[in-house]
Point group: C2
Chain length 324, copies 2
Amino acid sequence: MLTEFTLIERYFAHATPAAGHVRLGVGDDCALIAPPAGSLLAVSTDMLVEGRHFFADMAPRALGHKTLAVNLSDLAAMGARPLGFTLALALPEADPDWLAPFSEGLAALANRYACPLIGGDTTRGPRNLCVTVFGEVPDQQALRRDAAVAGDDIWVSGALGDARLALGALRDEWALSDEALADSRRALEWPEPRIQLGMALRGIAHAALDISDGLLGDLRHILERSHVAACVNVDAVPHSPWLAAQSEAVRRTCALAGGDDYELCFTAPAAARAALDEIAQSLALPLTRIGAIVPLERPGSALTLHDNAGQPVSLAFQSFDHFR
Amino acid sequence: MLTEFTLIERYFAHATPAAGHVRLGVGDDCALIAPPAGSLLAVSTDMLVEGRHFFADMAPRALGHKTLAVNLSDLAAMGARPLGFTLALALPEADPDWLAPFSEGLAALANRYACPLIGGDTTRGPRNLCVTVFGEVPDQQALRRDAAVAGDDIWVSGALGDARLALGALRDEWALSDEALADSRRALEWPEPRIQLGMALRGIAHAALDISDGLLGDLRHILERSHVAACVNVDAVPHSPWLAAQSEAVRRTCALAGGDDYELCFTAPAAARAALDEIAQSLALPLTRIGAIVPLERPGSALTLHDNAGQPVSLAFQSFDHFR
């Protein structure tokens, strides 16, 4: 019979073998990590709730992937290399048909980044998945939100808005062709944490974060913490052909305020453009300049938008907030 | 209006000022910790679900305390000093009348152990509280479960069973006087993590763990991981006067298999008895010898129980399991 004590061991601990810096993994009161010398330990936690962050019928393999991916994305945004993670999960029942593919999706991503499970907790309850990730970043090289300066370019990786495009179709807000839905659904369910990009940006980018609640809302966090303003060309924001085929309103809603993108938004001095083009080439990941950091002139002027023609665009978007 | 983004800041981040080793706290993609040189980082995670780990009407101040206490207890069991913690919480609503006392109970304990909140996540959902704690322990001095050796004494701190005594009364399994209920309920709702004891046991105790699922079930984890057996005098297990007044059956159920005790169970060589008596004195915390570690003779013989008269006691207890 499947018990609490065997569940973590059977489905998770063996699937992600302990790597170099993990001295003691699952099975004791605590895990023990030997932190790499000269490094800071980066820590982030994210909780995913059924019906809120994912649909109840989401394929468990994709859910396992996404549960870890959204946490690794926070390490990427800090420029950190993954070391390990803990998983606490509440489940309505210990169902092997759900646990096996969930753990496989999780483990495949964990092993790809040499990021083993080091501790866990399981309990019965409404489905809830809480991951805490640990990474390491050399002292002084972490990509913080408070490091943007006037004159910086603003960049984003990949393409934005496809996850929101899929969500809208699944919610019947708009219709998509089967092919468009399949492609955009991949962005929603199988986001790729930009770990290599984050590490490559050490010493090059100033400020960075990952886009989880929508580009414009997340960019505001950089502006607030860095005490600067920004000017963004909304038509420069990279998006897929599927999004290009939508109306301007849908396209902008998805790309600018969609959320669940897990691409990086970062700022860097103009002198870094050549280096960034090389990084984009070597990672085969598009990096696109979408605007500039400017001095903060007065409160409320922090973010101004314009289009390709230079015309102002009004801000009618809101970032996602669970309690709004 | 209370939003997701202000909730952690307002109720939690300010209440627990960052301490020495925390380089960057709440508000970025990750927190940054500068690990103390020569130390291992100890990590543990626990998830508490409403209706399962606590009653829906539990006073929020006590719940805030207990949520962190059960996690600090895991650090104590490892001999680790607290460094910080993350909190992810799902709440049905952002209710200031619940959040304020919950955060006060949490912060009072956090500040007592200089253990600041370093990161968090909030979402709407069935009430669920997930804490991950970080501590440091000098290399080679962690109190692991696999370090018990034949000849060791088995010790427990404090008194066991009062939390289960209160739970039984609240569930109408038995009746208690108002005074007995008030006292035992304190054990259930305001457990004290044995941080000082854990740190004092470095270099003295062999194996250790904290008792969360019942003494005998938890002790088995030490036996399994250390490949040893144990002989325990059930009448030596320390308990309160309230438990002493109960029938033998209730007393043994509560003290031996009750759970939610958060006292430490540890093994130490006989040569350490004088040192342990001194520790008990200096911490004003009783430490009681309840048995001995013996060689494992055959599978299934791992744990034998007897009473004060030396008569065998049969094992009809089961440790708590969320999926059994």
